[in-house]
Every structure is written in C-alpha cells, then in structure tokens.
C-alpha cells in the first residue's frame, strides 16, 4: 500500500465526517424527513471510510460470508442502492419502493451460494449508473445542488465493488472515493446551491430543497 493512498483515504474520512456534520445541520434547520434519512446515511458513510483507511494500511482484512459475499460487497450494496432508493423517493415511484430491497436480497443470495461475482458487479454498476444520471440530470434541471451531489454517492459506492477493470488500480479507486465524498460535500454544505446552481427559488426556500421537487 502506497502512502498517498492512505493519505487520500484520510482526506476521504475527514470529508465524510464533514458531510455528516452538514447533513445533521440541514436536518436540524429544516426537520424534513429526507434530510434525516441523509443524515443517517452520511453517518453510515463515516465508518466505511474509516474501515477503508485501516483496510488499506493493512490492519484488518475483508471478511467473507459463504462463497463470495464480502463485507465490502455489503457496503457497496447499501451505498449504491441508497442512490436508487433516493431516486425512487424523489420521483415518487411508490410502486417500486421495495425494488432496492429485492435486488439486495437476490444479490446477497447469489454471492453467498455462487463462487463468482461478475453478475453482481455488472448489475450493481448498471443500477447505480442509471440512478446517477437520472438524479444528476433532474438535479441540474431543477437547479438543486443537494440532489445533484447525492448522485455522487454512486461514485463513492462504486469502488467497493470488486474486480472492476478500471478500478483495479488502487489509485483509481482512491480517486473515485475522494471524488464521491467531495462532490457530496459540495451539495450538503450548500456550495452548489449558493454559487453554481443558483435560482431565485433556492434563495426563497432555504434548506427546504426537497420542497422544490415535491411542489412541482
């Protein structure tokens, strides 16, 4: 393990803590349930970032259950499917609210009983990428920085999926982790809403960003 990978992971951990801080702050100010969901989710990201750091240093090793289900795979599932769940919530596709849970169930079943994970990797990337593009396009169209940045959860979660050709190099994986949490931070801190995706509506309804989506 190179020292700069550990340094990047340390920065990722700091940014993940900042994300949790800003999301808790947003929730305290607005008291909207989706902000509470995000606060809990970002709190969950902190130990994953910490674990990645100590895993990289070599203090711990990945844990496997059954044939091929690793702790990394579980993290990857939770992170990527959260993006999908967020998309379903944002679009109010109530009839598909259970889709991420169903997908997670079959993925876990497959990884426990079969000695390969190619299908899981391909399908999780496909689902995550789909959610990523839909959320980011929707976020930009509605000038909603928070929603756009949440799409980057996928980029952060992607690196947990093993055996990716592009991300097999550790530096790429570390870079994607950093890009993911940094992009999320731009949204949670309000930077995107304030300086990039500026709209009159945003200034009128501070911290109630979800209201924009719902009031359409």
């Amino acid at each position: 393990m190179n020292w700069y990978i550990s340094l990047i992971d340390l920065i990722v951990l700091v940014l993940a803590i900042l994300n949790a801080y800003f999301s808790i702050k947003n929730w305290k100010e607005s008291k909207i349930s989706i902000n509470l969901f995000l606060a809990i989710f970002f709190i969950f990201l902190m130990p994953t970032a910490f674990r990645q750091l100590v895993l990289g240093i070599g203090l711990i090793e990945d844990i496997y259950i059954g044939e091929n289900l690793s702790l990394n795979d579980i993290f990857s599932l939770v992170i990527i499917l959260s993006t999908l769940q967020f998309l379903l919530y944002l679009k109010e596709w109530r009839r598909f609210y259970f889709l991420p849970i169903i997908y997670a169930f079959y993925s876990i079943y497959y990884l426990i009983f079969l000695p390969e994970n190619l299908l899981f990797n391909i399908s999780s990337i496909f689902i995550g990428a789909l959610s990523f593009f839909v959320i980011i396009i929707d976020g930009i169209r509605n000038k909603n920085g928070m929603a756009s940045s949440i799409a980057f959860i996928f980029v952060y979660g992607l690196v947990y999926t093993e055996n990716l050709i592009l991300l097999s190099a550790e530096i790429f994986a570390a870079f994607f982790r950093l890009l993911g949490v940094f992009a999320i931070l731009l949204g949670t801190s309000g930077f995107l809403d304030k300086y990039i995706l500026v709209s009159e509506e945003t200034t009128k309804i501070k911290n109630t960003w979800i209201a924009k989506m719902v009031s359409k």
Binding site: R94, R95, F96, F98, Y103, Y106, Y110, F113, L114
Partner: protein, 218 residues
C-alpha cells in the same frame, strides 16, 4: 382401473374447462374496457391468474392420461414445484398475480409490483446463472409461501371488503391446494374435478355472495 377412470374424468374436465374459464374472464374484462374505455385491473389480474392456471394445468394433466401420455414428455414440461420448469413457472406467476390482486384490492400501493418483482428475480437469476440449481429451493419456498399467504389474504380481503373476486379466488386456491396435498389418488381427482366446476361457476359470474362490493367504492 377405477383410478384411471377418475383421473381421466378429472384431468379432462380441467383441460376443457380451464381455457373456457380464461376466455370468459378475458371477455368480461374486454367488455368492461369497450364500455368504459378504462382498464379494470382486478378483472385483468383475474384473467392473468386463469391464464397462468391454464398454462400450468393443460400440458401437465394431458401428460397423465391416454392417449397424450405417450406423446407428451412429463419430465420436459415438469409436474411439480421441486425444480424450475414450465409448470412451476406458471404456478409461480399464478400466486404472484394473486398477491398483486390482494395488494390492489386493499390499495397497498407500495406492494403492487412486489410479488412480480420477487418472482421475476428468481427467474432472471436462474437464467443468468446458467440455470443453477441453487434457485430451485427459493422457487419452492416462494410458491408455497406466497400461495399460503395468498389464500389467507384472499379470505380476509373477501370478507373485509365484501369482494366476490377475492373470496372466489380464495375458494379456488383452497381447492387447488387441497388437490396438491391429497396427492395422486381418487380423492385428489375429486378435488381436481371440483377446481374445474368451481372455476367455471366463478368465471361465468355466478359466484356472488355479496351483492355490493367495497373494492370499487374505495
């Protein structure tokens, strides 16, 4: 010899009646659509349940009686839920549509597609993983679990919402399960025969214990 006669009567009854039932419920759905220009999802789901039932029962029942037992390979089409085959897939869809109907009747919107997504998950996973046998047990658990849940909720929904469709399908599924539990004997043949008879009564619209339903009023 007696068994062969009862089996032939029972199997031929369902083989003849199953497609008639399906056509009848399809016609009722179509007539409603033509009249109102709206889709009646309850009737559509009942049609899909009967379609899946027809798909399951015709090849299986024909494979057991002469002269078709010579021409139809029972192993190829499948006759039970132990593996994933044409028969068990049809039964899987049948129970899935039943749960969809219960969710729809009760207006549990988040659960509308859950049974179909669950079953599609088994079939897709099975196909994409080189027809791996690890999905056989999952398929079996799903069919029995969803079937039992379906029967219980059909009765609850039927009584609670005074819905003839749910109550009728509850009785229809109870007869189907009784036939499966009793097994391949004369009593099992009686249940198979009753499935056909009751199915026809239901499809013709004569099963009306409740005059006013709460489902469409909701």
């Amino acid at each position: 010899m007696i068994r062969l006669i009862t089996q032939t009567i029972a199997n031929w009854t369902t083989v003849i009646i199953a497609p008639i039932m399906t056509i009848l419920v399809a016609n009722r759905f179509w007539q409603f659509y033509k009249k109102t220009n709206k889709i009646n999802y309850i009737r559509l789901i009942i049609f899909l349940i009967f379609l899946a039932f027809t798909w399951a029962i015709i090849p299986t029942n024909l494979s057991e009686v002469p002269p078709f037992d010579i021409y139809i390979n029972a192993d190829l089409i499948g006759t039970d839920e132990a593996t994933i085959n044409s028969y068990s897939i049809a039964i899987g869809f049948m129970v899935s549509f039943s749960l969809c109907m219960i969710a729809y009747a009760n207006r549990w919107e988040t659960l509308y597609y859950v049974p179909l997504l669950l079953y599609a998950g088994i079939i897709f996973s099975f196909i994409l993983n080189d027809l791996s046998s690890i999905y056989f047990i999952l398929n079996q658990i799903y069919i029995y679990g969803a079937g039992v849940l379906g029967v219980i909720f059909f009765y609850i929904t039927g009584i609670r919402l005074r819905d003839n469709g749910s109550l009728g399908l509850g009785i229809f599924f109870t007869l189907s399960y009784a036939s499966l539990i009793v097994g391949e004997n004369i009593i099992g043949d009686v249940f198979t025969f009753l499935i056909g008879v009751f199915g026809l009564i239901f499809a013709l619209g004569f099963f009306n214990p409740y005059k006013k339903s709460e489902v469409f009023r909701k």
